[in-house]
Symmetry: C2
Subunit: 222 residues, 2 copies
Amino acid sequence: MFKKILVSEDIDSISFGLVSILQKNYPSEIRTTKYCDDALLKIKAALHEGKPYDLLITDLSFKDDYRDVKLSSGEELIEAAKSEQPGLKIIVYSIDDKPYRIKNLFDKHKINAFVAKGRDSSTEIIEAMDIVHDTDTIYTSPQLSHIARDMAILEIDEDDIILLKYLSDGRTQPEISELLKNAGKASSSTSSIEKRINKLKIYFKANNAIHLISTVKDMGII
Amino acid sequence: MFKKILVSEDIDSISFGLVSILQKNYPSEIRTTKYCDDALLKIKAALHEGKPYDLLITDLSFKDDYRDVKLSSGEELIEAAKSEQPGLKIIVYSIDDKPYRIKNLFDKHKINAFVAKGRDSSTEIIEAMDIVHDTDTIYTSPQLSHIARDMAILEIDEDDIILLKYLSDGRTQPEISELLKNAGKASSSTSSIEKRINKLKIYFKANNAIHLISTVKDMGII
DNA sequence: CATTAGTTTACGGAAACCCGTAAGGCTATC
DNA sequence: GATAGCCTTACGGGTTTCCGTAAACTAATG
């Protein structure tokens, strides 16, 4: 059983509800933070005291407000936390159920579970905690199981993402070519860019570039 | 003070947290639902019994799942609820802080308050409830006050929205022209469509159509 | 009815995008 | 080092979009 849990979630009602759910099920020590920076500080401090957290439950998106923050997203917090305390188990609790982001979380950030905010998230959180604690198996909410399938065929890379972002920023293809050349990227000719866009249009079944950007934005890829 | 409150929110942890906050402050009768359809049924039933709800607190977006639903969004629930019980006070509690949607909620759906899910939403909910109960003033979360300003200059109409949706669906301008003609819309020539797109590009400071669609999607207009 | 103002449509050239084909370059293998 | 396969780049012509200008239409006014 987890002894010391940190909850990182900015929306007060969610944080409140989440803590209630946890307390109802486990006699753990639970701390909450509303900012990623604070979460990292707490993790560091606990590590220093020799009483480290053994589980981090975090959201992905945090609202901007008046405060200047170093870590502005769950991804950044996870990366920072892992480099401080590599063994820390991490459960992401988020509304964002876009295949690409979830895939990234498991592949790059080595999170242990992804629980989607939803009608049954309280039971899923508990399930996830049990599995993550006892085994090295990863956990995802049942309704996201289809994503495992999507993930397999999701073969778009960093460069694709960059290109899509340039397009969505209103750059023309010659402009993008220049930008990529200056960034020292390979295959930066207008021709290659055309080809890449074409590949993406086929992949996402888009009629034209506008449709493509619309689609990838809906999917949360950019 | 509100005597009978209905909370319509699909994510269990939020619903749980919200109810705790309400109970801590008011001795009201509180019911919760995870589906808009159920919320409407509860409102109808209470009305029939002669013990109607006097406040509805609802989210805007609800997750799809296995259940077939008639009302799939908060907007639809609000419209249905208002037609059943015009006097019902409504507070929207949502993460979606896009000017256009909020403007619509106040203008078309005559909601009484909009509280943004955030770090201080528990106090804001209480504030909103006090104001909405005692007066006919509308309430919005303080951090959204800038939206009142944005709202004033937000002069895009239904036809603009339709056009933007067609564009984001990958239609060409001649195709859109045909579609609008068939729908019996005025100013449906390719020329007029060009002109309208151009107006929108200027308005949203977009370099090209891709950029335009990207921008309006970010703003939650479509 | 003539004039004016505002809106819608038409048109044409320039720019950007789309799409197929082909040439050039790199690597691996025999 | 010749060959084949793969990736990148180049090029050309067709389509779509972009943008300015002008014509046609509508409605209101004197």
